[in-house]
């Protein structure tokens, strides 16, 4: 049966060519699930796009691309949104920055992780629990450990790897589930809220 979920995929890529690497794999997962979606770059996003979406996925970008941090004010809508949101890598950093109003840029930690790492999920996170091998591709991270609004579900070496807002369906993951953990995206899309 065809699902009618309308997913808004938000690109954070400065270079369009990077969208083939960070957006298309997510689109392909949703296509395979027969889930409706639209993809837009954050600079082209309107309030109408956000209101039309049932759920939102904010994707990652390349290691050298930090333009989204300079443009962080364009993501203020997240704070007042009641939509389920999944932030992947850059998307997780954006969520962290938006919910930490003070000392914004100082909240970014330098932490390079490239390749497969085993992360331990303390409890069920989008139907994932226990140890899981995940693919990392990042130079930065945000520390959610002292956050009053977010719960940390997985962390390693003081780096928050998977978080969820305590009262909203806002999820953040530092790793890239489109590489060998596609079920996490499917679980987010199919989750009843």
């Amino acid at each position: 049966m065809k699902k009618t979920n309308k997913i808004l995929i938000i690109s954070t890529c400065k270079e369009k060519l990077h969208e083939l690497e960070f957006i298309k794999p997510i689109e392909d997962i949703l296509k395979k699930q027969k889930t409706n979606f639209t993809a837009k770059h954050y600079k082209e996003l309107s309030l109408k796009d956000i209101n039309k979406a049932k759920k939102i996925i904010i994707c990652g970008t390349s290691l050298q691309d930090n333009e989204f941090i300079e443009d962080i004010n364009q993501f203020q809508w997240i704070k007042n949104s009641d939509k389920p949101i999944l932030g992947i890598c850059a998307g997780m950093q954006i969520i962290g920055l938006i919910f930490n109003e003070n000392n914004r840029k100082e909240k970014i930690n330098t932490k390079t992780e490239i390749g497969f790492y085993t992360e331990k999920f303390r409890k069920n996170f989008l139907n994932i629990e226990g140890e899981k091998e995940v693919y990392h591709l990042h130079n930065n991270s945000i520390d959610f450990s002292k956050s009053n609004e977010f719960e940390v579900f997985a962390s390693s070496e003081n780096v928050s790897q998977a978080v969820k807002h305590k009262s909203k369906n806002i999820f953040g993951i530092l790793f890239h589930p489109e590489v060998r953990n596609k079920e996490l995206i499917i679980n987010f899309v199919n989750q009843n809220n």
């Binding site: 060519l17 794999p25 050298q64 390079t112 591709l137 130079n139 489109e178």
Partner: protein, 222 residues
């Protein structure tokens, strides 16, 4: 952006370069690492020296570096070649044809990150059948130059990637789990023509070697 294409002469790196150009980037140079180790995990080996002829057909300069192909040593050679490209051609990033291979991809990502340049992987996680169909749609002339999996044999050498090939490889995928894009090294390819080439290349001569289900065709192009 001025980019270097990590170029093996095969279908994936050539198509990745084609996409970079389509997205208005400049391919300032090609980088080929010719490995003496035929079992190299990092670099494609059959007919690797033909990349010089392919570079001529594209009218793009090439940096061709030889490596012994010893596991992590070959990465130092790749880094050396990328540094040369930064110095000589002022590149700001590289393009790779990585599809599924995390082994190759993360090593290149680490080198680019260390050198603070962009790393583009436009075929990353792409469906393999979709990739083959895109090659045909975009008029890529590709032949098979190596096979290394049952039930592939010497009869596959020289075959073109066309609709018939896709149909057969889909069946082999179902029956024997052959990766349709040859990602597991099941087959190797060589591009004779594509929209990046000013002229089509022809096979001047070839030397075939192998046994059972492992065959290579060393090709000379003109």
């Amino acid at each position: 952006m001025k980019l270097a294409l990590l170029f093996s002469g095969g279908k994936d790196s050539t198509f990745a370069g084609y996409l970079a150009k389509k997205y208005n980037h400049e391919i300032s140079c090609l980088i080929t690492i010719a490995s003496k180790n035929k079992e190299s995990y990092m670099f494609h080996t059959p007919s690797i020296n033909q990349t010089k002829n392919q570079a001529k057909a594209m009218n793009i300069p090439i940096i061709l570096l030889e490596t012994k192909g010893e596991k992590e040593e070959e990465l130092k050679d790749l880094e050396k070649a990328i540094k040369q490209a930064i110095k000589k051609y002022k590149i700001q990033g590289v393009i790779t044809g990585a599809v599924e291979s995390v082994y190759q991809s993360l090593r290149i990502q680490k080198i680019c990150n260390k050198l603070k340049i962009e790393c583009f992987n436009p075929l990353w996680q792409k469906n393999q059948i979709e990739l083959l169909e895109d090659l045909i749609k975009n008029k890529f002339g590709i032949i098979i130059t190596g096979v290394a999996a049952y039930p592939l044999n010497e009869k596959w050498l020289g075959r073109k990637i066309d609709k018939k090939f896709i149909k057969e490889i889909k069946e082999l995928n179902k029956k024997y789990k052959i990766n349709p894009a040859g990602e597991g090294g099941e087959f190797e390819t060589l591009v004779l023509n594509c929209p990046l080439f000013k002229n089509k290349l022809n096979i001047l001569n070839k030397k075939i070697s192998g046994e059972k289900n492992t065959w290579n065709s060393e090709v000379n192009l003109k």
